[in-house]
Symmetry: C2
Subunit: 154 residues, 2 copies
């Protein structure tokens, strides 16, 4: 079953290349039924976050009317990059299956493996420097959040 | 200047809580001018990827008509989570400034620090297990991509 769904992500990725997209495809499956699918749409959507996994997760959430996908499985033609890995945790998917890995992606010219290597570095020492600036009042949003009784946790 | 923009992300995050969103705000700045801003819209948009940084990056790309933001700086009320960190690399931002860190986010009930801790684990041993399945034909999308002369690299 897992191999069948993965084969569909490969077909989706191949079709996506023919249609001007990147060589990636992803499916979200619930109760053995596909509820969302997408290829990579970065260049067509002018959106660097439009990876196949992100798009499929967003579509699945719209389909279920829920910002969590706890009973769903993600199938993807390639190991999720750190951005998509983060999205998988925020969506609280049940499990993930993938057919290629980050090194295959790197060999095809994509930065997945490079970004994984950047993560353990100190923020200010990354290739894209990330600077922490101490600021009076920086805790105000979290304080407001903690006080708010009507909040929707996510 | 950096502190001024960061103060605006804090204001944005506070306003966002009042308006039913999460306690995070982000700005994209080009030539010292704000070209995009957003609070966290996960629950309102039913989209677990709608973090403030992701939203601001998407809006900035739409505004510039470009899927890369090489001359832009991201200001965010809190250290980017791994998902947003990945998006920052894919958007190729120039630099990032943040006012709170992942431990502040964890103390407020958010999984940022937890997700960072999951990344170095072997995929199949993560809390959300990620399984690599070898599949005949898995390289076909990358092969099609390499052959395609008209491709738009991203």
């Amino acid at each position: 079953m897992h191999a069948d769904f993965l084969r569909q992500t490969i077909d989706l990725a191949c079709d996506n290349v023919v249609n001007g997209g990147g060589p990636f495809g992803a499916l979200v499956v619930k109760d053995q039924r596909i509820i969302a699918s997408s290829g990579n749409r970065v260049t067509q959507n002018i959106d660097p976050t439009a990876h196949a996994e992100i798009m499929a997760i967003r579509l699945a959430c719209q389909s279920l009317g829920d910002f969590q996908l706890t009973e769903c499985t993600l199938y993807t033609s390639c190991e999720p990059c750190p951005m998509c890995l983060g999205a998988i945790y925020w969506a609280r998917l049940h499990a993930v299956y993938f057919a290629c890995n980050r090194f295959d992606a790197a060999a095809a010219g994509f930065d997945d493996s490079f970004i994984y290597d950047e993560i353990p570095k100190l923020p200010a020492e990354r290739c894209i420097a990330m600077h922490y600036i101490e600021l009076a009042g920086s805790a105000l949003p979290f304080q407001a959040w903690k006080r708010l009784e009507s909040k929707i946790r996510y």
